[in-house]
């Protein structure tokens, strides 16, 4: 009997420790990634990186100013299209909408969220690039906005639903119309949560590469307008890392560090807003 209990205890300890080891391994990969990026990219991140154009392989120096600006343009474009649509869809889902229809929208949004990003890229290619006959920042922005809409719709809905029922009823009892209630009571109450959701969504799409490969393509120089092929940071990382040139590899590391830095800062700050701000009156 005792030996059996001993065995049970040993199994208990071994298995519990190994789950701890699993947790340790998974979490440590994040630090491994950060450390490698800082180590390899830190050397190449300097003022030139932010202000100069990329150079041909073999030349020293140069930067990715056009890619940084291009990325900003494309992401801004995607946000201008995606955030309002996602927001209003979210309001609709949370506040209006019957059972079956909103279930349908919700389900579609979740499916759209799960579509592989490369497929989104193909889709944007067929509806924007082919009719326009060339690659453009517009097409890239369109592709990314398709990814942003479901994210922002679902997070808007989620935070609106957290607004207590009493606040809605209070506003309606004071004689406010349904629209008034939503615009001046419910949305302001959920403001912080919604903003956080949007920041997370924008951070997610700013790191996306696959939808941009054949929509905004890439460009070694400044793009003159939104309807021209435009460089972006993720695509630059991809082309520079897979090219066989030493100097380009260094630039790729630097770009990776900058991109990851931006994404992580956005994520961390978004979560800090959440943990402080969303203590809604319950």
């Amino acid at each position: 009997m005792t030996s059996r209990n001993q065995r049970r205890n040993i199994v208990n300890n071994v298995m519990l420790t190994s789950t701890g080891v699993c947790a340790f391994i998974t979490v440590s990969t994040l630090f491994l990634i950060l450390a490698y990026l800082v180590y390899n990219g830190g050397k190449s991140v300097n003022l030139d990186f932010f202000t100069k154009l990329p150079l041909a392989p073999g030349q020293d120096g140069g930067g990715m100013a056009n890619a940084i600006v291009g990325s900003a343009e494309i992401v801004l474009l995607a946000s201008v299209i995606g955030i309002p649509i996602g927001f209003f869809a979210g309001v609709y889902l949370a506040e209006f909408g019957g059972k079956t229809f909103s279930f349908l929208i919700r389900y579609t949004a979740d499916l759209l969220n799960g579509v592989p990003s490369i497929v989104i890229g193909i889709f944007a290619w067929t509806v924007v690039v082919v009719p326009m006959h060339h690659f453009s920042a517009l097409a890239g922005g369109f592709a990314l906005s398709l990814m942003l809409i479901p994210i922002s719709a679902r997070s808007t809905e989620q935070f609106l639903l957290e607004v207590p029922r009493a606040m809605r009823e209070g506003a309606l009892a004071l004689g406010a119309s349904k629209w008034r209630t939503i615009a001046s009571v419910i949305v302001p109450a959920a403001r912080k949560g919604i903003m956080t959701g949007m920041i997370l969504g924008v951070a997610r799409i700013s790191g996306e590469t696959a939808p941009l490969l054949f929509t905004s393509l890439g460009n070694q120089f400044w793009a003159a307008s939104l309807s021209e092929p435009t460089a972006s940071l993720p695509v630059m990382i991809f082309t520079h890392a897979t090219a066989p040139y030493e100097d380009w590899h260094r630039q790729a590391w630097a770009a990776g560090l900058v991109l990851l830095g931006l994404v992580l800062i956005a994520n961390i700050s978004a979560r800090m807003i959440i943990s402080r701000g969303v203590s809604l009156p319950k």
């Binding site: 049970r8 205890n9 199994v11 208990n12 298995m15 519990l16 190994s18 789950t19 701890g20 699993c22 947790a23 998974t26 979490v27 990969t29 994040l30 990634i33 490698y36 990026l37 390899n40 389900y107 979740d110 499916l111 799960g114 579509v115 592989p116 990003s117 490369i118 497929v119 890229g121 193909i122 889709f123 290619w125 067929t126 509806v127 997370l200 951070a203 997610r204 700013s206 790191g207 996306e208 590469t209 696959a210 490969l213 054949f214 393509l217 993720p234 990382i237 991809f238 890392a241 897979t242 590899h249 590391w253 990776g256 991109l259 990851l260 994404v263 992580l264 994520n267 961390i268 979560r271």
Partner: protein, 280 residues
């Protein structure tokens, strides 16, 4: 609308190759011969390898986070895992191509070959790039999803279930493994499906380490190709009419595959959470 566009744009290739498209392993743009088998094989194989690694790791970590760790530690570790999920895939690719590939080539793969060299799975020349490397990088990319969803499923198990098991004299592990995990089983399986869908559709990181070889190999060490990778690499260069259509059809295949898996995952997750709340 999305499905419709893919359907229409790929019609040329669909009519020309029919269902043979899915089984033919011929991929020759010069003669306009296209078959998807090597890419489907590569996609399924790399995703399978990824799950082989990430499921035990992810579920183990989720058990640790929900059952054992102190609340404070659990919250901060979960936060880190979620950050890991936010890392853009091209960054994983960057790290994989410059650090994982040389490491695999110089240390891991020779060692594997020494031990298992007789089996067909570990034979052939060593490149560093290939199915196994892609599988490993995909594993790192999928376990954040597995951890966070499984953790939620485990947390939804009512407290009484644990207390009852412990009160009957079960050890902590026995209560976790025989009571809590079976209770949350559907949710955990759902999380695995979510991870699988992500692994199947993952493009950038895989494109950078898969090795780009459109044929079927048994050896895990040899280079291959996946659906997403071939589309990413060849789409901008595709000329003529059949070539782009064939690539779009590949996109369609991938789309259908991930949709089915995602839908299954959603259903399973909804089933467990409602089960937890009705009984709790």
């Amino acid at each position: 609308m999305l499905v419709y566009q893919l359907w229409v744009t790929s019609s040329l290739s669909r009519h020309k190759f029919g269902f043979g498209f899915l089984t033919s392993s011929m991929w020759n743009p010069v003669t306009d011969q296209f078959g998807a088998a090597p890419f489907i094989y590569g996609t399924v194989l790399t995703s399978f390898l990824a799950l082989l690694i990430s499921v035990p790791l992810g579920v183990g970590a989720a058990i640790y986070l929900s059952e054992l760790a102190l609340p404070k530690l659990s919250i901060s570790l979960t936060f880190l895992v979620e950050l890991l999920a936010a890392v853009p895939s091209v960054i994983f690719g960057l790290l994989a191509i410059f650090t994982l590939v040389p490491f695999m080539r110089d240390y891991i793969e020779p060692a594997l070959q020494k031990v298992f060299g007789d089996t067909p799975f570990f034979s052939g020349p060593i490149f560093g790039v290939g199915y196994l490397t892609a599988g490993i990088i995909l594993a790192v990319m999928t376990f954040p999803f597995i951890i966070s969803v499984s953790r939620e499923a485990l947390m939804a198990v009512p407290r009484e279930q644990r207390e009852a098991a412990l009160a009957l004299g079960a050890t902590k592990w026995e209560s976790t493994w025989q009571i809590v995990v079976p209770f949350a089983k559907l949710g955990i399986i759902g999380s695995i499906f979510l991870g699988l869908a992500r692994a199947l559709g993952e493009t950038m990181a895989v494109t950078m380490v898969i090795g780009n070889d459109p044929s079927i190999h048994a050896s895990l060490l040899s280079p291959g190709y996946t659906i997403a990778a071939v589309v990413a690499n060849e789409f901008t260069e595709a000329s003529g009419k059949t070539y782009p259509a064939a690539l779009v059809e590949l996109g369609l295949v991938l789309f259908v595959l991930t949709m089915v898996i995602n839908a299954l995952a959603q259903v399973l997750i909804v089933l467990t959470t409602s089960k937890g709340s009705s009984k709790g």
